[in-house]
Symmetry: D2
Subunit: 149 residues, 4 copies
């Protein structure tokens, strides 16, 4: 689950619900491990008794979300976005930021996992057309369903 620290209340609520639904399906939730969308998905997953692993950019746990079951302090800076995306069976993106877009792009670059977007930014090709391949969801339920394979 990817998304920005700096998010709207609606994005936070959607992330919480996505976390809850993923945990209810027995999925282990991976996220970036800090505030905003990342903390909300962790909280949602924990509310359903799920496991959440935070893949942190820092080499320590400073600023890590409280609801993580485990934290991987990669110490790699934004290169951790690639680690996070490489480790997932599906990628759900909520909201928009440059870091979040890098995760969306790296997930599409992989080419072998479902990539679902709930709101957020949009990418157009050189002709102004939306790029194909991203599954767009309107609700947390639809996002989790589309991520399910």
């Amino acid at each position: 689950m990817c998304g920005p620290s700096d998010c709207t209340d609606a994005e936070r609520d959607a992330a919480y619900e996505v976390g809850r639904l993923l945990a209810a399906r027995g999925a282990v939730v991976l996220c970036g491990g800090y505030s905003g969308v990342m903390a909300a998905v962790a909280e949602g997953a924990r509310s359903a008794g799920g496991m959440v692993v935070g893949v942190l950019s820092r080499a320590d746990r400073e600023g890590a979300a409280p609801g993580l079951s485990a934290a991987i302090a990669t110490g790699m800076g934004e290169a951790r976005n690639a680690v996070l995306v490489a480790s997932a069976d599906a990628v759900i993106v909520i909201g928009g930021s440059w870091g979040t877009l890098s995760e969306l792009a790296l997930a599409m670059r992989r080419g072998d996992v479902p990539v679902v977007q709930l709101g957020g930014w949009q990418v157009l090709d050189e002709h102004g057309e939306p790029l194909p391949g991203i599954r767009r969801a309107e609700t947390p339920e639809e996002a989790v369903r589309l991520a399910g394979g």
Copy 2:
């Protein structure tokens, strides 16, 4: 300098010219080190006697462009995109691909270097507006000038 393996002839020509102009200004050129836009920028820089360092995703040099002065075989897969972008004083993006977009996004995420785009994909925010901050160039000359600080 960031750009895709799979590119048009026009993108290849632009990359060659960007490499040549950067080397003529005495800049060390960093690139992803493989084919397409990456090989063209290396060739252009070498044509002007410049130094080109390829930051490779693989742990060996298989498939590396011939014109590299040195290759850093990171063995990190797409996480090398973050390393490449973190090491640059300015980022020029030519053409579009998901890997290239991840580099554009990581460069904007840094927030402390000029990011110049010559053609390629476009990113819109949640309201359908172009994101501010990317410098758009029409020619290799303009790209190199805008990257100059």
Copy 3:
């Protein structure tokens, strides 16, 4: 918990017991996630109902130990040794291999976590003296106790 794929039965048994004892204390166990010592510590931790996160070198889960609660497929090759060590509150090393030694060295390089060695290789300084700072344990119980701070 660090150790080689290729290990003796005694090392495997010790690793299983270390995993069991760590899980019994409520610790989340991090390991390299493959066979040998890594698989044994995972199995031991799972036998006590514990959580085990495998920090894999590959970008997929091929060859991952069966007992992992979650796998982080870093795709970074041996650079994942640094990620594993950076993420731990204490490092217990069982057995010897070059990969394992790199983890021991990176843990000592950190300087801010207990590093415990149960058997395995030994490092001498330029005068032939053992390097100070590594806590040597004779049994799994002692290893877990020494790791406890």
Copy 4:
């Protein structure tokens, strides 16, 4: 070329000479890019007109040695040791530190490049015997010769 920031004058002199000899043979020198042995090898290589690439642990160039032809600011912390070692055709180790030992171990873990040690620490196996495979040199000339394949 791997070695510690904190080194003796003899190690610094040896590193300078190794750098000079490598550059005289036309080799591109890779090093960790900071002070001590790393700065000395860079200075030696530059004195012979050679190219030196510093693979830095930080995400910026703070503290980088002055003699580098190019710097790769990996921002990966000690994981850059793995990147440095993965990118080399041969690894020469001068002096001892935990970071340096991690590089020696990662180079031996690779198994496909010559690893040469000039002074520094020593590794014994579980029976107290020196591990085979490391080429020990007495002089900079011998180190460069042994690294040559």
